[in-house]
Subunit: 330 residues, 3 copies
Amino acid sequence: MPKRYSQALLLCSVIAVLLSGCIFDTTKTSETAATTNPPKETRLNQPAVPPIMKRNGNQVSIEMTAQITNIEISKGETYNAWTFNGTVPGPVLRIKEGDVLTFTLKNKDPNLAHSMDFHAVHAAPSAKFIDVQPNEQGTFTYPANTPGVFMYHCGTKPVLAHIANGMYGMIIVEPKNGYPTDPMVDREYTLVQSEWYEEHDYEQFLNGEPEYVVFNGTDFELMEKPLLAKVGDIVRLYISNAGPNEVSSFHVVGTTMDAVYIDGNPSNVLKGLQTVLLPASGGAVVEFTVTEEGDYPIVTHQFDHASKGAVGILRVTHDGLDHGGQASGH
Amino acid sequence: MPKRYSQALLLCSVIAVLLSGCIFDTTKTSETAATTNPPKETRLNQPAVPPIMKRNGNQVSIEMTAQITNIEISKGETYNAWTFNGTVPGPVLRIKEGDVLTFTLKNKDPNLAHSMDFHAVHAAPSAKFIDVQPNEQGTFTYPANTPGVFMYHCGTKPVLAHIANGMYGMIIVEPKNGYPTDPMVDREYTLVQSEWYEEHDYEQFLNGEPEYVVFNGTDFELMEKPLLAKVGDIVRLYISNAGPNEVSSFHVVGTTMDAVYIDGNPSNVLKGLQTVLLPASGGAVVEFTVTEEGDYPIVTHQFDHASKGAVGILRVTHDGLDHGGQASGH
Amino acid sequence: MPKRYSQALLLCSVIAVLLSGCIFDTTKTSETAATTNPPKETRLNQPAVPPIMKRNGNQVSIEMTAQITNIEISKGETYNAWTFNGTVPGPVLRIKEGDVLTFTLKNKDPNLAHSMDFHAVHAAPSAKFIDVQPNEQGTFTYPANTPGVFMYHCGTKPVLAHIANGMYGMIIVEPKNGYPTDPMVDREYTLVQSEWYEEHDYEQFLNGEPEYVVFNGTDFELMEKPLLAKVGDIVRLYISNAGPNEVSSFHVVGTTMDAVYIDGNPSNVLKGLQTVLLPASGGAVVEFTVTEEGDYPIVTHQFDHASKGAVGILRVTHDGLDHGGQASGH
């Protein structure tokens, strides 16, 4: 890490830890941390709240929170996450090409500034993706003129920490004229891939291996509560890779992709892919046909990452309802 | 790794080790392993056998084996690999768009279940990519309706171990109407990139750096026995990146790519690339012109990986025959 | 690393160290190195010189140097780099599709051979990308018939060391008929992403994490001297990812990309991207509109890398001049 940053970041981290009472677990500081940090059960855990979204013509107002909430990232394993609205990923937002967004961020985190960087909009970051201080709120306006599947995330420094700790989500900007394949699609789902590292450990964010790589924030939900489809369906997935660090080799076992729209733009179509490569922060619309009853795993084909949790199940039945299956242990 | 899996995987690994007699070399278990595992020379080493392929109209039957075979991955360095048919990568399969495959897997591994996941077909994985038990065989039928260059691999859990230990290969599905550039291509070759880690070391597969990154299973064969072409040829490569973990920045030194078909689909054409990025499990058809006599290295331009073996030589001569060259030490 | 290479490379490295007096800092050799290597201030530091470029019709002659020069890669941190012409990256070269290049490399490094591998040309590497010995020069001729944004680099073995130590740059081959978007573009810049590892530490190049990931060789210049644009401008960036090891998830905060030409080829156009993924050695032309006054960070969205320095600022003002801003501390 560049040294001029590392000191500032270290300072920020230390302040953050002291203020928020998070356990900052490194070999160097664990002894001190163990004695000065409050026990896990007393950490801040603000309940999830839905975002508020209102439309008036093409004027869309959205209100969201920055808050600290415990997230179960694996069975019995909780991460004291920095979140939008108390979930990781944050809520999926869906607007239309040509909308003008008036966005309000209420920062309910008592200790740290947070902010919002929408990849979907045109805005001067130094004016409109700026920090909102603890217990304050900020409102910003910008147009969303590019259709697609975009990442949003907290852009407060150090950005790596704010993303790694959970502050990201997906915003879909529906194309004005839709996708050429809209009439064929039978059902659709959203998936966000991301990594979890040792809790609040900035050195691990920077140089370590992820402990978990997951879809939609956990490594188990999409195994236990599979996505569903009917035999013969064309399924559309809106996918986004939040990172913060890794690329994704997104793959659905048992089928090939009839169409892939890179970053969700109708102009960027690829056909017959087995696997689509997403950059960190990249997105896509992925469509495929399921021809037989059974369970179809969804993975990143970087199998170190799939082995760390990035596996979901798409369950295909004759009627599109869940009748149990291998994957869920039934 | 998610903890609920790690225990199951550890158990699987331990059982696999005990049963197969593989040296499972970790710092934690090496002491025990050193005393309980048989010496290297007594390990199972089943001779390679060709696959059996028969065609009747568009009905294609393929019979392959899962087996344990020593693979020389570098000069004097042998890996006791899990293989299809005794080679790594397994045999290149070549069928046509619209074929219906009847595939039989004979599992000659006395200790572990194996399976076959063809990226080229439409099939319910929970019904048709299922485990075949030791000394048994399974037969499955599915259509191959998407043209391209696809990966196949063992899909038995833990998938990461089955791929990292050698169970992968390439299946080409020729497009019904060919590629627009078919008339120009003078010769073609197949290349599969993959990684080798510390032998049978699951922790290294998950979190380590590869020891070797190679084309077609070894780090020397394509240096000593170069691919050949004639001055002026347009050369086509069918390429696949088996991973299991890394992406590939595929590059041919001394030329640019006239055409690249992403995942080998005639619809997905890019022109004039210097380097094509393959996801883990991604493929491509790559075509380029060689204009002068000499040796053209083929690499992944991720040079840590090229330095670990992923270098091949394309030798270009006036008549397309090998007259020796720098690269092989002549 | 394949063993047959590792010994040769180790030998090369040792010779290089002894000859050049570089500090070759490994745990194994540091004791010896500390006593046998000259102190930092006495290391070779050849002043930067401009390349010499002459055109006669479509015949272009270029003369460049290989030389050893101290590069300030971060504030107060100097790397004794292997360079082209004394800068890292080397000078940006700009020629036209259809040019024939006559290239001369003057090797001013008294100790090591160097060479030039242009990704933009057709040439037999074993004849025209060959080593030029210390204090000698070599001249080579080849055509540049593919338009785009290409990497050039030293191709002398071990290539990884020559790239990691600084020998790379960008060559733009302007398309004969331009880009369809040429009339709309208001201003353009060039950016080369690359990694710095522990100085001259081959083991770190092979298996380590980068210490810095930077644009145009340093982690501070594009923060302190931002790129400039005017409100409403369409900005074009020519970008190249030199690696040596990592891919880039290139992103401009606050906008989406109107057009992206993969590897700079007018045929390979993508629309509306939030982020473009570059392989190691890949390039692109990226165009976007800036609609408001303010600072727009440019990053790789692999945020471990951005946190290590790969952040630049594009400053947008009403008149396109720099009036100071947040990012530079004003």
